[in-house]
Amino acid sequence: MIAVLALIAGVVAGILLEPTVPLALQPYLPIAVVAALDAVFGGIRAKLDGIFDDKQFVISFISNVLVAALIVYLGDKLGVGTQLSTGVVVVLGVRIFGNVAAIRRHLFRA
């Protein structure tokens, strides 16, 4: 419950503060969002599995975002930025779908 409130607080802060993203960071934003989504759904699923751990959650979020950003950065430098971004999105997307399916099984027994 507190977690949901924290998430909402973050969204509200983001809306109220109206931050501008520096141009250099803009390409990483979509990837960061997907990485964050993966961490969130992973966390929810772990919670439902009864094995949620705060430390693992924070580590998975930070490492997801950093690794995703690193891959995109390297890809940009090597000239294959879009392909690598696609790769990251596919891998994280598969994980998100899998976790959402598990969450669904937990919640609806279906």
């Binding site: 973050g10 809306i15 705060d54 693992q56 959650f57 979020f61 998100i96 976790n99 598990a102």
Partner: protein, 286 residues
């Protein structure tokens, strides 16, 4: 990855994608849960700190979502704005260009009138006018024909279906040969020195022209018959039937054609005489 015994047997080594599909949850969670069972729980303050950090991470995630959403929502109208700005600028420049062209034409006409006044001999003035019409530096009206030539339907992928500068040259040369007195391509008048050439497209003089090409020619009454009966036209009629070309090609007889004046070419050899008041230029020369 470490081996460990949880409730279900896990296989991580098989290959990454299989493992990803089979069990998308970060294995670290299971490992942490297992550790919790085996080890004594960490002190209370440590657990609390972790909880706080996790909450901060969640706030950060929410913040990230909001920022990303705002970014997407903001860039869309931004792009539209830039696009519209560019379109407006293009239109403004177009208007300016046509206004300047009209100005140039008016000024050219004024110059011609003043010069006629300065030239005391009317026959000389008439001769000059005719030379101007022939060289393309004055607007002319008359009867003639229009040749419509366009790229084949698959020109985007098939370079053979594209009209080349050579094609335009052939048709223009044929028109000159059969007595055309004035020719323009897509509204660009040909002068005695304008080239039809290739340069990332086709250029007539200094101006790019694109398909469909419209070659307008003014000439003697028999120009149409002679031109349509010519070998050149025969060749192009043939090319329109070939599957690899399929050019559009049409000749229309048309009266009261108006061909615009070409912009005055840069004078390369002629010079303004040194303030000699007697206006007696030597007769025309191309």
């Amino acid at each position: 990855m470490k081996e460990h015994n949880s409730k279900r047997p896990r296989t991580y080594q098989a290959d990454f994608l299989t493992a990803l599909f089979r069990d998308p949850l970060d294995p670290a969670y299971a490992q942490a849960a297992e550790d919790k069972l085996n080890k004594p729980p960490p002190p209370h303050w440590k657990l609390l700190t972790r909880k706080v950090i996790a909450l901060i991470a969640l706030v950060a995630i929410g913040f990230l979502f909001a920022v990303a959403y705002r970014q997407v929502a903001h860039t869309a109208p931004e792009r539209e704005k830039v696009r519209n700005g560019l379109i407006t600028r293009i239109n403004q420049q177009k208007e300016r260009t046509s206004k300047l062209a009209a100005d140039a034409e008016a000024l050219q006409a004024e110059v011609a009138t003043l010069r006629d006044l300065a030239l005391l001999d009317p026959t000389q003035a008439l001769e000059l006018r005719q030379l101007e019409a022939a060289t393309g530096v004055s607007k002319v009206t008359g009867d003639g024909l229009v040749v419509r030539l366009s790229d084949g339907p698959d020109a985007a992928t098939n370079s053979k279906a594209r009209i080349l500068d050579y094609d335009l040259q052939q048709l223009v040369n044929a028109l000159w040969f059969y007595g055309a007195e004035a020719i323009s391509i897509n509204g660009r008048r040909l002068t005695s020195v304008s080239a039809i050439r290739k340069g990332g497209g086709i250029y007539v003089g200094d101006f790019p022209v694109v398909s469909p090409y419209e070659i307008s020619a003014i000439g003697p009454p028999d120009l149409y018959d002679k031109f349509t009966g010519s070998l050149t036209v025969q060749v192009y009629r043939d090319l329109t039937q070939r599957p690899e070309h399929r050019f559009g090609f049409k000749i229309i007889k048309q009266d009261n054609l108006v061909l615009p004046a070409a912009l005055l070419p840069e004078l390369r050899y002629a010079k303004v005489p040194n303030a000699s008041p007697s206006p007696t230029p030597s007769g025309g020369g191309k």
